[in-house]
Amino acid sequence: MKYDAIVIGAGANGLVTAHYLARAGKRVVVVEQRQAVDPSADIGWVPPRVIRDLGLRNLRLEQPDPWLTVPLDGGGTLELSRDVGRSADAIRRLSPADAAKWPEFCARMRTLAGVLEKLYLVPAPDIETRDPRELARIVGLGLYVRRLGKQAVIDLARILPMSIAELLDDWFENDALKGALGALGIWHLKQGPRSGGTAFNFLHHHVGSAAGVFRPPRSNITAALAAKPGVEIRRGARATVLAKNGRASGVVLENSGETIEAPLVVSSAPPRATLQPLAIELYPDFARAVSNIKARGVVARGTLTLAQPPAYSTLCIAPSLDYLERAYDDAKYGKDSTAPYVEVQRTDGRVEVHVQFVPPGTHGGLAERVAQILEVRPNQVTLQPAEESLYHGELTLDQILFMRPVPGWSRYRTPIEGLYLCGSGTHPGGGIPGAAGRNAAREIL
């Protein structure tokens, strides 16, 4: 069988790239190491352009309401709803001052997330460019931001490098509210809420959501893409790129040793895993940059077995910013958080758990601790600590835009001719299934 392109990884980005390539008339095979579709990573905004371009009619977006349930000290819960007014009513019981600020906070964050959306649906701006079209595009982005008004320009410059704790302290007084919002700022980061750049991470995960919703939506994007005809998917085979003399020629499947040849190989696997075996083909400075990508695993994900489906859609255990910072303090020194941030989400017949911080290594009593926090028995909790970041590269300010996956190589290309990257390790990163895949496909075509 002759292929025009091989895509490594049948996650959302890999499949999006594959379908865009197929749509352009290429014969595409996708190689995936997992046997079945893994829906657990289908968290985040699916750009409407992707849905429209690929005609994903069977795509289901989950938009639970209320979107977050926060247990309160001394009983009761804070429920945050899709409706800004209803959330404000709920917040008012804790702090009238915070409730008064809620609508404006929601609006301002929405505006900023809108700027990121603009940046995310195209390749990262090329700051070294002399190409008039690229310069015009950068100027265009600048003008777009200017037109949003003075407040937006100030917010953008001020908030992006800020810590989420400073941002929230600037707006609110209630610990429970700040903890619940602050948790999004440290999602999949080995940073605490007082680390710089976490406000950006917060906005990144707000992208695509309605004003006042600060948890990314879930969808069935991977399953929907996998079910769509047009590309061949080969499962159960881990692939390594074949390259010689600076040119990719195909992949070799690890277990069978079978090789598949194609002039174009696109990898949605982590940049490091894709490129490290090819080190001999790479200039050391580039290879070193790739091996230094920060992608530290800090999250254990898993499932919760409950007799009854829970009443909440998403339960957040992050009682305060101090609680999150202390959880990070443990991780900073390589230990599991004594009191971790735990979030439980009901989805599609399952209950998923996100526990942070759980650095790679030993995890004595982790399940017990999480069970105690959730007031269930330890055998109801199954957790899988991640060795590496789910996002293939943490979304820290030094690893975004034209610095993602490594500085100077943000255009999905690699120094190896015919080898491209399209996974969440590339711009715009994890938590936006399909965006990197679409950008990469457009660069390739």
Binding site: G246, Q276, I280, E281, P284, D285, A287
Partner: protein
């Protein structure tokens, strides 16, 4: 941090008549042992000279992927080299600009010794990612002497008690000198018949004594860097930070050079897999390098006239110089390039210089070199001369 002395210092130290020392890679080595380097120079060309070259950086690269690593780094084809061979080679950055140059001794199928002018350990490690290879910095534990000159083979044969006539140019062999295990390579930096002797640093002094004792009847003379500098210019051999700048230390693009521009095209393999700088060097070879590294011979009559004009007899540099000197066209107005080192060759009776010129200036072409005569800038006529200036048959015989 103070400068270190080499393992031969217990012997070289007392020999220094004028305490003229020079820094080399963090060590002190003799500029000249006598007050003038003249006799040391003539020993290189007429009998034999002994240099302490221990400050060279030396790395042992061993393991299954050792030759793959070196092939990844350098421009020569290491995989094709046979055991017992020594390769002179440059290495480059991704843009094909030269980082450094040195030698690779093939000591075994999986054992290589690499020498360099600049520290290279980190660079080797960076290139070794994913390879099964061990890299050891043996700079301090390996001492080296360079025995150069027409009598060098005779001296070494007696010292090593074996026939070395079969040891060809750029080949090596292991041997024993008074029971001291050494590696003898037929290499050097003088462009003459010569050898380098590699030894464990702990045996440095007895080795020195053995060679001096054996060699003295043959006129063996310890020699310093000033004499070596004249010889290497005669041989047309490059010196880093003088004739070219490492691309790692260059501040601007124009300070960098490619091996093709430096006359090292013969060291850039066309028959090997990807190595650092390959794509850039292939492209440069295709379009032709825009610079060349060439010799210049300053015209005696022209130089004499410049001095005669101010009422002086001609003056010659007493040592080799290493400063950048502008080179102009015949008219003396348009600058064509620059000389990077030069000096008087006592053997050839010629004023020579090494220069960077545009590739279009063929041997025999007349140019002008700036000379300072009695505080005034003048231009002397010079002819583009192919390198090397001096290339005796005995070098390879």
């Amino acid at each position: 941090m103070s400068l270190r002395t080499t393992p031969f210092h217990p012997r070289t130290g007392p020999l220094s008549e004028g305490q003229a020392w020079r820094r080399w890679a963090g060590y002190v080595v003799a500029s000249a042992y006598e007050l003038s380097h003249d006799r040391e120079y003539h020993a290189i060309r007429n009998s034999a000279a002994l240099f302490d070259v221990s400050p060279l950086y030396k790395y042992m690269v061993t393991g299954k992927d050792a030759s793959r690593l070196l092939d990844h780094v350098v421009t020569r084809n290491v995989g094709k080299a046979k055991v017992g061979q020594v390769l002179y080679t440059p290495w480059c950055d991704d843009e094909g600009k030269q980082i450094d140059d040195g030698t690779i001794s093939v000591l075994g199928e999986q054992t290589f010794r690499m020498t360099s002018a600049d520290p290279t350990l980190r660079w080797l490690h960076l290139n070794a990612s994913g390879l099964d290879v061990t890299i050891a910095d043996v700079s301090e534990t390996t001492a080296a002497l360079s025995l150069q000159g027409p009598s060098s083979r005779a001296i070494l044969q007696i010292a090593a008690e074996r026939d070395l006539s079969a040891l060809k140019y750029f080949r090596l062999t292991s041997a024993k000198i008074r029971n001291i295990p050494v590696t003898i390579s037929r290499t050097g930096y003088t462009g003459d018949l010569g050898f380098e002797v590699w030894v464990d640093a702990s045996q440095a002094v007895p080795l020195w004594d053995a060679l001096i004792e054996t060699g003295t009847p043959y006129g063996l003379t310890p020699a310093g860097m000033l004499a070596l500098d004249v010889a290497r210019i005669e041989a047309g051999l490059l010196l880093i930070e003088v004739d070219y700048f490492s691309s790692r230390h260059a501040l601007i693009e124009s300070q960098k050079s490619s091996p093709l521009e430096l006359g090292l095209g013969w060291t850039v393999a066309t028959d090997k897999e990807r190595y650092n700088g390959q794509a850039a060097l292939d492209a440069e070879r295709k379009r032709g390098p825009s610079w060349q590294f060439t010799g210049l011979t300053v015209d005696w009559d022209s130089l004499e006239q410049l001095y005669a004009d101010v009422g002086l007899p001609p003056r010659l540099p007493s040592q080799a110089w290493r400063t950048s000197v502008p080179i102009y066209d015949r008219g003396g107005h348009t600058q064509l390039g620059y000389a990077t080192s030069g000096g008087w060759s006592p053997l050839l009776k010629r004023y020579m210089a090494l220069a960077h010129l545009g590739s279009e200036h063929a041997p025999g072409m007349e140019v002008r070199m700036e000379v300072t005569v009695e505080h005034h800038r003048k231009q002397a006529k010079a002819l583009v001369t192919p390198l090397p200036f001096f290339n005796p048959e005995r070098k390879r015989a």
